[in-house]
């Protein structure tokens, strides 16, 4: 059975929330490993791992620098040079926080790398806030490669007219101006044309819509989504209640 995109989104989101609420590193490591296993089974691991590493490696290094080198509340000093004190508590805090963030990031990335974007857009209803959000999401994802390619073409055109990026801030600013202005100008013009086309097709008029793309959904999946959201909300309430009673 194929999962409805909103069901997998509910899965990913509630997993991230529950992992954050649980705040225990065995749970975090298990969730992270599970997410990696899921993406390997789905065949997306090859794209997911570099994307996750690009996010998590700088974050992890930053956590290590911040808490590993200076953790004023730490008692067990492992090494000390100058003002920097490496404490066991600091390292443990950095490790726990990194594990927990990795679990949440991996869970959400598994969703975004496995979801079928046209299905997701079709699942968001085709009018009102949902429809407009779906439009923004879909057109960003399709515009991103197109605009990157257009920026490359503009750079080539300017280079063929003699643009050389020399050292020095002023030269770089001038080069930026030469490339950014044609790009922004053409994008704003295109957007105007697109707005007229959308308006002519009744984009902002109210009323029912029909969709060419049918996304299969079932009562079980709808119930599952409700349960997942309720579980995430319950985890948050439980954690806040524990904090409120001093636990």
């Amino acid at each position: 059975m194929r999962l409805h995109p909103l069901t997998s989104l509910a899965f990913a989101g509630s997993t991230a929330v529950i992992t954050t609420a649980a705040a225990s590193w065995p749970v975090s490591l298990a969730v992270g490993a599970g997410a990696l296993g899921l993406s390997a089974a789905g065949g997306t691991a090859r794209r997911l791992v570099p994307a996750a590493a690009a996010v998590l490696v700088p974050l992890g290094l930053s956590l290590l620098i911040v808490h590993g080198l200076s953790f004023p509340e730490g008692r067990t000093v492992l090494a000390q040079f100058g003002p920097a004190r490496v404490t066991a508590e600091g390292l443990a805090f950095a490790g726990e926080r990194a594990a927990q963030l990795s679990a949440a990031v991996l869970a959400l990335l598994v969703f975004s790398f496995s979801v079928n974007v046209p299905d997701l857009v079709a699942a968001l209803a085709s009018r009102g806030v949902h429809g407009r959000f779906g439009f923004v999401l879909a057109s960003t994802l399709t515009l991103l490669p197109a605009i990157t390619a257009q920026a490359g073409r503009i750079r080539q055109a300017q280079e063929s007219r003699g643009l050389v990026i020399r050292r020095g801030l002023l030269h770089k600013v001038a080069a930026f101006r030469l490339q950014a202005i044609p790009l922004v100008l053409s994008l704003v013009e295109d957007a105007g044309t697109r707005a007229a086309a959308l308006e002519a097709r009744g984009f902002s008029s109210p009323g029912p819509r029909t969709s060419y793309r049918e996304v299969p959904d079932s009562a079980i999946q709808r119930l599952l989504r409700m349960l997942l959201l309720a579980a995430a909300a319950a985890a948050v309430v439980w954690r806040l209640w524990l904090a409120g009673t001093g636990g």
């Binding site: 996010v55 290094l61 930053s62 200076s70 806030v129 515009l143 990026i165 100008l185 707005a195």
Partner: protein, 280 residues
């Protein structure tokens, strides 16, 4: 460009009131979360990772940003709505370009500020929040910063509304002030959700403040006050350069620019009408 429809009935005042209520609720959620976190901060941060304050920061700021989107998005005309995806892509493409060739800042708000200047504070706030939400598709760690991005878009729109883009030298000043506010509001997210920052260089600055004995929130706020105002001053300057380079015809197709005389040298509507009657 697209004007209010002449054939369809205008939205009922009840709907407008509901949207206004949602806007206010969203702003209250963000402000309330910030105040709660700042008042309650030291008790929790070292008591264990990912405890209650991470969840409060995450849910409060996110709910606020989503309420703002729900309130603003249906009211935007199609001409503004089609610019939002362009702004999101510009945030990414121009930010990467500037970051890699010009200066070591991470200028990730150029598109948001551009929309705010052309289409007003509400569109700017929606663009900022949507930018974070859509970008979290690739990088989930930017999701909690949606409220901060919305605030920056809104402030940029207000700066344009009150004429700070009419004088070229005022744009960086407005950016500097926006950066101070945005940095202070985003710092609790970095502190409570991430327990640090997302970059190595900023992490080193936070570490330096920490070893002087600051709390984590204070250290991250000071780091944000070092890097954010400079960053936003550059972004506002870049946007001013871009907007003034657009042809007059393109600039003036935005009602916000015409009505509030956002840019120098562009006369407002009544004056333009007078001018045309005199010449005809």
């Amino acid at each position: 460009m697209s004007s209010p429809s002449l054939t369809l009935p205008s939205p009922a005042p009840a709907a407008a009131r509901r949207r206004r209520l949602l806007e206010i609720l969203g702003a209250l959620a963000i402000a309330g979360t910030y105040i709660y976190l700042v008042l309650n901060q030291p008790a929790d941060i070292t008591g264990g990772p990912g405890s209650a304050s991470a969840l409060i920061a995450l849910s409060g700021f996110l709910v606020g940003a989503i309420l703002l989107i729900v309130a603003v998005l249906p009211t935007l005309p199609a001409s503004t709505l089609v610019l939002i995806p362009v702004a999101l892509v510009l945030n990414i493409v121009l930010g990467q370009f500037v970051g890699s060739t010009l200066v070591p800042f991470y200028l990730d708000a150029i598109g948001t500020v551009l929309i705010a200047v052309l289409a007003g504070p509400a569109a700017g706030a929606a663009t900022g929040a949507l930018s974070s939400i859509v970008w979290s598709f690739f990088n989930p760690t930017v999701l909690p910063f949606a409220a901060g991005a919305a605030l920056i878009g809104c402030l940029a729109g207000l700066a344009a509304r009150y004429g700070l883009f009419r004088r070229f030298y005022l744009a960086p000043v407005a950016g500097f002030a926006t950066g101070i506010i945005g940095g202070v509001v985003s710092a609790p997210v970095a502190a409570f959700v991430f327990g640090g920052t997302s970059g190595v260089a900023t992490g080193a600055i936070v570490s330096a403040f920490r070893s002087m004995g600051d709390t984590l929130l204070a250290a991250i706020t000071k780091q944000a006050l070092i890097s954010d105002p400079m960053d936003k001053a550059i972004v506002f300057t870049v946007v001013a350069v871009l907007v003034y380079a657009l042809p007059r015809r393109t600039r003036l197709q935005f009602p916000f620019v015409r009505r509030h005389r956002v840019l120098a040298g562009t006369t407002n509507e009544p004056a333009a009408a007078q001018g045309s009657t005199q010449t005809s």
